[in-house]
Symmetry: C2
Subunit: 454 residues, 2 copies
């Protein structure tokens, strides 16, 4: 159990009409809603009804292998979350944005806007964009090397943090008598002059309610964990067994401490795809009804990308062919490892593997009653594998409705989850303190996260 918090945290990871890759073909969904902003506003309100900490949207900068059979990530996440922000009051709003393309000034501005619009509920899932298809949309040939991506990410985040500090909390004075809108002594250039970015600042927007967005990260490779340990306040991760979850948790928290932070300053949130029904049999049947709708052609393409080997002509009823070594994977190293661990002993056919991965692209799926889902979460929380969970409903909105209406009340009864919001900001929901400002005189917290960049 994480130190200093009695409750755990819940994020709803929202994607189209559900995480299951065949969700949009299932009678429990209405596929055309993937294009309807009202659908997403409704999801935000359902999450808020469940007092969830946050909702989250993933993003990639290319259509990837999803074109023919998948319906994900149609909206740019910050734009979408802005529309959700004004339809909700409490729930946190986490958007994915890449450090490998784009620039820190525009990114900092966009998230500050979302934080202003939402009154302090913005979060940034920092990703380094592993895809060659993404690179090709930004003038880059092939997959940029893993290490270079993380180096760029580090400088990118340093600049963004400096920009978010560039206006002190009380810089805006709005004094009509003197005609002073902002106090120039409290607005600072950052004069960043690094290998990849030269940014003068200040940001063109005053400091927002949270000071800056919550920093979220989801890389699980060694450099990913290193980056998370240094910067992240919440980490999404795919862990399939309690033992793996515990190991990842210990590892990451040790890293956090190594960087002079408190273990509790970072919340570990493993993902779970819950199929919920009144009996375990019904829940399993529900899961099967989704698995039966999978398009093998699509799944094979996705699996090929994940594993760095062409499976599109491979037999569905044979085991996986030999896989390339980890050091040849420039994409998502940790997801590669996860699949390799699952399938390497040859006991699974490709078809079985596809079924196993269909719910959440490698994330743990769990079919059971509301009590059983609550038990699972409680065990992971109490046995040191999680500070909370990334809930990935297989179908939407129904799968989120069921979690909120059937599982959350059990968690609340057990004292594991809040019954009311006690904070107005996303940082507050996650039990994190206020952020300092490197420029604020006498601010003990100043520079506590990231250093001044110049």
């Amino acid at each position: 159990m994480s130190q200093g918090s009695q409750h755990f945290h819940l994020n709803a990871f929202l994607m189209g009409v559900g995480h299951h890759e065949a969700a949009w073909r299932h009678p429990r969904t209405e596929a055309h809603r993937v294009l309807d902003v009202k659908h997403f506003q409704e999801l935000g309100r359902i999450a808020e009804r469940g007092k969830l900490d946050s909702v989250f949207f993933a993003d990639t900068l290319a259509i990837g292998p999803r074109l023919e059979h998948n319906t994900q990530a149609i909206f740019e996440p910050v734009t979408l979350l802005s529309a959700i922000a004004v339809a909700t009051e409490h729930v946190g709003l986490i958007a994915t944005a890449s450090t490998s393309y784009g620039d820190p000034y525009s990114l900092a501005r966009k998230f500050t806007s979302l934080d202003h619009i939402s009154g302090g509920r913005a979060g940034w899932n920092i990703v380094t964009s592993a895809g060659a298809d993404e690179a090709a949309n930004f003038g880059v040939d092939g997959i940029p090397a893993h290490s270079g991506r993380y180096e760029r990410a580090a400088e990118f985040v340093d600049v963004a943090l400096a920009l978010w500090d560039s206006w002190e909390d009380d810089a805006v004075v709005l004094d009509p008598d003197t005609g002073l809108f902002a106090d120039p002594a409290k607005v600072h250039t950052i004069d960043h002059d690094g290998p990849r970015f030269q940014v003068k600042g200040p940001l063109n927007s005053p400091r927002s309610a949270q000071g800056r967005p919550l920093l979220v990260q989801a890389g699980s490779s060694e450099s990913g964990k290193e980056f998370a340990a240094r910067h992240a306040e919440a980490v999404f991760t795919a862990q399939r067994t309690l033992a793996q979850g515990q190991e990842f948790y210990r590892d990451l928290k040790a890293g956090v401490v190594k960087y002079g932070r408190n273990a509790g300053d970072l919340k570990v949130l493993p993902g779970i795809v819950p199929f919920i029904a009144d009996t375990q049999e019904e829940a399993e049947a529900l899961e099967r009804s989704f698995t039966d709708l999978i398009s093998p052609a699509y799944s094979l393409r996705q699996l090929s990308t994940m594993l760095g080997v062409d499976l599109t002509e491979h037999s569905l009823d044979a085991p996986l062919p030999p896989l390339p070594p980890l050091n040849e994977i420039q994409g998502n190293k940790s997801r590669y490892q996860l699949v390799k661990d699952l399938a390497e002993d040859g006991s699974l056919t490709v078809r079985q593997l596809i079924g196993l991965l269909g719910g959440g692209r490698g994330h743990r799926t769990f079919a059971g009653t509301p009590e059983q889902v609550a038990d699972e979460l409680q065990i992971w929380f109490e046995q040191g594998a999680a500070d909370g969970f990334n809930i990935m409903p297989p179908y939407l909105p129904g799968g989120l409705d069921d979690f909120v209406d059937q599982v959350v009340p059990i968690l609340q009864d057990r004292g594991l989850f809040r019954t009311e919001y006690t904070s107005t900001t996303l940082r507050g929901h996650y039990g994190l303190g206020e952020v300092g400002n490197r420029f604020a005189p006498g601010d003990a917290l100043g520079g506590a996260i990231g250093e001044a960049s110049a």
Copy 2:
């Protein structure tokens, strides 16, 4: 009068609590609302009550000279318009974004998102970012040369247009039986390989209701007008006299025809800052009450930037010093020329000039009764200087309320303005046809705007 349309068009240019630089100090405004998204949602609803074609937000990528005394552009415009989109149903939503920084893939995605969210109401004000302070936030030293900015803009827009075509209208099939989400034969790579951008595509979002956002432009230099003639569907412009307005209008329309387009394919919208009251005397007194609140220090800094000469130590009661020649101006050439024309004969002191510019940074201000404002607009429209107007309320929301409730009904009575929306899209409001798609087989309009880039 523009060919083929009986009505003129009205855009509300929204900025903080008003365009007048002292608006936030005036008793008619509440300054803290510059940070309140609800204020901007209310402005969207007021514009919609007046059946206006659109609302528009400017943007610059630096705080510029506005820090101490001005309250503009706190929100990133697309994020803000997304929040306004879901609070309105009809009014168009035009956001400024730069072609000099950022990249076409992310920009195309962001505007497609806004178009999806708003059901086809997005517009893009294409700007080339003239400021040295903006350059310094993106690793560029000094002001990038005027010509290079427009060259980059041309390629940037070409790529964005190709990306917006990359999904055909009917590419999304959502066929649950076959499991086909989108038809791969109707989703195209663009394979752009140009001097500044290499972009493979397709875009990671299906085609939106309008196909692409309305293209708006506001550069008035020769290259600006050339660019507008080729690409723009609406042009914002600062014109102080009817004769100047007529000349600009003729000039631009001739350019449009030169590019093989119809004159009516581009709408010219000069700006006007209306002070409205029951009598002319009251309107003039209202304007004076704003002028009296101007901070000369702030205005001098702004004027210095505009004219490329340091006026911060110059006497307020002397005329302007000699100005540098036009070819030395790398920033906003047309605004420089406008001020030079106004003040060059030495008849205005700097203080008088500042008062004249305070309402709309060079845009025409007009103080009068609702009838007089309506007369002015009618004259400009009927005498060939405008297809509509960019209404720049000096204070908000009051100045927009007054325009909508007092001037619009007169225009409607005279048959000059719509009484109901007759279209659901921004393009429709501006009387523009549907856009083609270069990739659609047998689409006569295909490639009509911009060419395929590779």
